[in-house]
């Protein structure tokens, strides 16, 4: 058993992990990235449509600003987000795009002059400004007032991770591939790294670090139908949960993407709808305007997914031997647009469906897509409970998404949080009191504990089949903790998952090799995934309201009076079969944007008692500062800039500022 010392241990080689490591490296700290797979193969790569940043280069984005992006994001999240963090995010997003532009991301660019676009099913000619020619272009996405999503055709995540991973190579940051963190090493409320298993040799190594950063992505594989890659099993969140100290925030907030191809669940980007694609039912009828006359196909994802399922429930789904589905129609975009701006979509349809999207409709149905919840952190990205543990990206609940994430905000979060949290990790490592002072005996205890767990699986007499348990879990989650949730189903789900968890303690493996052993991996991951699934199901059961992606048929209204708070789940004892839930209230009196109607979806929420007061306050402040610029107004409503690392403060220039 070995021990490797480093300043920063980053667990996860996707965009957030890479960007944090680069930030730490540039601050002069040694960083090691652990990754299950080669960094460039991380699930960040699958982000197709783009990244939101209020550059306002295209004409349809004119007038965009951090303020509009802020409001869209808060509304999209149904007021579950931490508004200060949203502010930090929206102000850094343009900087992130510009940094990536300099690092080589081939962002699609604006071409001056007339061009034809499809808006609301109609061909419209828009004219791009001369001044914008050659700047980063934006496309339309759901839940946004302006065209704000910067993109690289429909391979945005691919282009971003290629550029950032190459920068990590330039900075000589080692990526230890085919390595998996099994447990976080912590002592007296301080995290010191992780016990890591080499997936090829099976060897355990302790990585001891000043700062440990989780960037392991989402937990889509808790569900049967998901757009997520097969490695998105939520293990990062699970090992944080298993510390018993760190908490997970809002795990019940799970997003379903409207357009997973049916039945495989592979994603086709929201860019399809952003660029003008339509949703149609079995009769070929475009149904979204019937439900959402204002935003139509481009309401937020939670709303569109629910409307689609609602429509299928009314018998309007197209029938197939795999079940019902709806159609995504992008034929109206034309061959040139599809072959240039939606290449990946074209390839996916071609290879997996044998469908030519230029001529045919694409069968789609909502599929699990994103985990809004994750390791709860403060604005610096550090766990409030476990010092030295940081998290960023989908693995984290930094909480800029609240209960529903807008399309284009996740890939943006990865790099933005990577930049911001990376700086704070730098600060953390700079402070002498954070030097590593853990006795090696403690480290050895962790190593031995994990070795014993693995040995128990390999040599024990367990009889349960991990694959069967996992399939059962995925079925329960999909059927009972899905888009529409009911108290009764959730109770059953929690019961059944608890039973599975108990059974999972008795998993046996047939193939008993200590080295590369896919069955062993499935076994220990399934044990952890069940705990995570319970945080989702139990949190969903407890939350007796509907908010964002969390929709309770028995409590269809958003209830700010009782539920304007964040769920925090922890796992106190290894022998427990349920997480411990506590809640963290959101303070309406400090909100820049007090809770209200989102602008789409239902309009029947129950008000928080402080909302009216805060609304008046906000109005009064705005009236008082009517002659001041938007920055002064914002500063008065909710100062946040002090929360940002000094290097990332400052305004973002736009072409309208130049004239």
């Amino acid at each position: 058993m070995r021990i490797i010392y480093t300043d920063v241990l980053v667990i996860g080689g996707g965009l957030a992990g890479l960007r944090m490591a680069i930030a730490a490296r540039r601050r002069g700290h040694e960083a090691i990235i652990l990754s299950l797979v080669p960094a460039k193969r991380s699930h960040s790569k699958a982000a197709q449509g783009g990244m939101q940043a209020s550059l306002g280069n295209v004409i349809k984005g004119q007038g965009d600003s951090e303020d509009v992006h802020f409001e869209d994001t808060v509304r999209g999240g149904d007021w579950g987000a931490d508004q200060e963090v949203v502010r930090m995010f929206v102000n850094t997003a343009p900087k992130a795009v510009r940094e990536l532009a300099a690092w080589g991301v081939p962002w699609s660019r604006v071409r001056k002059g007339d061009r034809e676009v499809i808006i609301n099913g109609q061909k419209v000619t828009i004219t791009e400004r001369d001044a914008a020619h050659g700047l980063v272009a934006q496309r339309d996405f759901g839940g946004t007032k302006k065209w704000r999503t910067c993109y690289v055709a429909d391979g945005t995540g691919h282009a971003m991770i290629t550029a950032i991973a190459d920068q990590a190579i330039a900075a000589s940051i080692p990526v230890h591939e085919h390595n998996e963190a099994l447990a976080l090493i912590h002592d007296s409320g301080r995290c010191y790294g992780a016990v890591v298993r080499d997936l090829v040799s099976g060897e355990l190594t302790a990585y001891v670090a000043k700062a440990t950063a989780l960037a392991t992505g989402g937990a889509g594989r808790l569900y049967r139908v998901t757009t997520n890659a097969v490695i998105c099993e939520g293990i990062g969140q699970a090992i944080a949960l298993e510390t018993g100290v760190a908490t997970l925030g809002n795990m019940e907030a799970v997003q379903f993407h409207p357009t997973g191809i049916f039945p495989a669940g592979i994603l086709v980007t929201e860019g399809c709808r952003g660029d003008g694609g339509l949703l149609r039912d079995a009769d070929g009828h475009r149904f979204m305007p019937d439900y959402e006359p204002e935003k139509r196909e481009l309401a937020s994802r939670d709303v569109v997914s629910r409307r689609m399922e609602e429509h299928i429930a009314r018998g309007k789904g197209a029938k197939s031997r795999f079940g019902d589905h709806l159609w995504l129609d992008i034929t109206l975009l034309g061959e040139h647009h599809i072959r240039h701006n939606l290449r990946e979509v074209y390839e996916i349809c071609h290879y997996f469906l044998g469908v030519d999207p230029v001529k045919e409709w694409i069968p789609v149905r909502a599929a699990q897509h994103y985990t809004m919840g994750g390791v709860r952190t403060g604005p610096t990205g550090e766990s409030p409970n476990l010092k030295g543990l940081f998290a960023a990206g989908e693995a984290a609940c930094w909480d800029m998404h609240g209960f529903n994430r807008l399309g284009g905000n996740s890939v943006a979060e990865t790099v933005v949080a990577g930049m911001i949290v990376g700086e704070f990790i730098g600060d953390f490592c700079d402070r002498p009191e954070n030097d590593i002072n853990i006795p090696t005996a403690v480290v050895h205890d962790y190593l031995e504990r994990e070795q014993a767990r693995l040995s128990a699986l390999l040599t024990g007499r367990g009889t349960e089949d991990a694959v069967a348990l996992r399939v059962a879990m995925q079925e329960i989650m999909t059927a009972k903790v899905g888009i529409f949730r009911r108290g009764k189903d959730l109770e059953q789900a929690v019961d059944e998952l608890q039973q599975l968890l108990v059974r999972s303690r008795d998993i046996g493996v047939r193939y008993r090799a200590a080295g590369a052993n896919p069955e062993l991996v499935t076994a220990y991951r399934t044990q952890r995934m069940l705990k995570l699934a319970l945080t989702v199901a139990y949190g969903a059961l407890a939350r007796s309201e509907s908010r964002g992606a969390h929709y309770r048929e028995d409590f269809p209204r958003r209830n700010d009076a009782e539920w304007l708070k964040r769920t925090l789940a922890s796992w106190s004892n290894e022998s427990d079969t349920l997480p411990t839930l506590t809640y963290e209230a959101l303070d309406v009196r400090r909100m820049e944007l007090p809770p209200g109607w989102r602008g789409y979806g239902a309009r029947d929420h129950i008000h928080h008692p402080d909302t009216a007061t805060r609304e008046k306050e906000v109005e009064a402040l705005k009236a008082k500062l009517a002659s001041s610029d938007r920055f002064a107004v914002q500063q008065a409503l909710m100062p946040y800039e002090q929360l940002l690392p000094p290097r990332l403060r400052g305004r973002n220039e736009r072409i309208d500022d130049r004239s």
């Binding site: 540039r26 300099a102 330039a170 900075a171 000589s172 290097r647 400052g650």
Partner: protein
């Protein structure tokens, strides 16, 4: 944000060793020598076909290359010299091409294994280029030896004699398709390699094989003509 964004870039820019031009030179020379040989071959086969017009045409061509029309008398050593120059070109081309061949049993086995598995036309073609290239070492040597040492025996009747009585037809009948296959494969590769002329492989292939085929027919016809002439002479 002000950042020191050029961690490794500066280092990369400063460690510049003097450039080794040799690899580029060798690569270009390999192609150019091949091109020259292909052009020579094309001309050679065309002129050989003079026999199809008649023995006197073939003799006229032979005399022309011996400088008869330039100096008034024939100097066969000119042909010898030209053949020596050609041999040099062939040696240069072959030596450069040798770099590309498998250098060891490991490489040979790896490539053969690859060739069988991948089932890929252009890869197979390369292997045939290699095989014909090796064969040409042995086929061209006697051909050139005669040209260099007995330049005066080139001409309608002398050549016809050689083809039939000395049984050189066996050599030529093998040499012709082999050299054409090698030249065609080489030309095809050269176009693909340098991307000029800009043709897709699908459009390039009929050109290359069409021309090679036409030359093959032409060459065989000339060989048949010499054979007929040679048979008459022996009678």
């Amino acid at each position: 944000m002000k950042g020191s964004d050029q961690l490794a870039d500066v280092a990369a820019a400063t460690r510049r060793a003097p450039r080794d031009r040799l690899p580029a030179l060798l690569d270009v020379v390999q192609s150019i020598s091949g091109l020259a040989l292909v052009m020579f071959l094309g001309m050679h086969l065309l002129l050989d076909a003079a026999i199809l017009i008649g023995p006197s045409a073939a003799d006229a061509v032979a005399r022309a290359f011996e400088g008869q029309y330039l100096f008034g008398t024939a100097h066969p050593w000119i042909v010898s010299l030209a053949a020596l120059a050609l041999l040099t070109l062939i040696v240069v081309h072959a030596v450069l091409a040798l770099r590309k061949l498998p250098h060891s049993t490991r490489e040979y086995v790896a490539f053969r294994h690859h060739l069988r598995g991948i089932n890929h036309g252009d890869t197979r073609l390369w292997w045939w280029q290699v095989v014909t290239g090796m064969a040409l070492f042995f086929l061209i040597a006697p051909h050139l030896y005669i040209v260099i040492t007995q330049p005066e025996t080139i001409g309608a009747s002398a050549s016809a004699h050689r083809v039939v009585a000395e049984r050189a037809w066996v050599l030529y009948a093998i040499l012709l398709p082999v050299v054409l296959l090698h030249a065609a494969a080489g030309t095809y590769r050269m176009v693909v390699k340098w991307g000029w002329p800009k043709l897709s492989r699908v459009r390039l292939r009929p050109w290359v094989w069409g021309i090679a085929g036409a030359y093959c027919v032409l060459g065989l016809a000339a060989l048949v003509a010499y054979t007929i002439l040679g048979l008459r002479l022996t009678e």
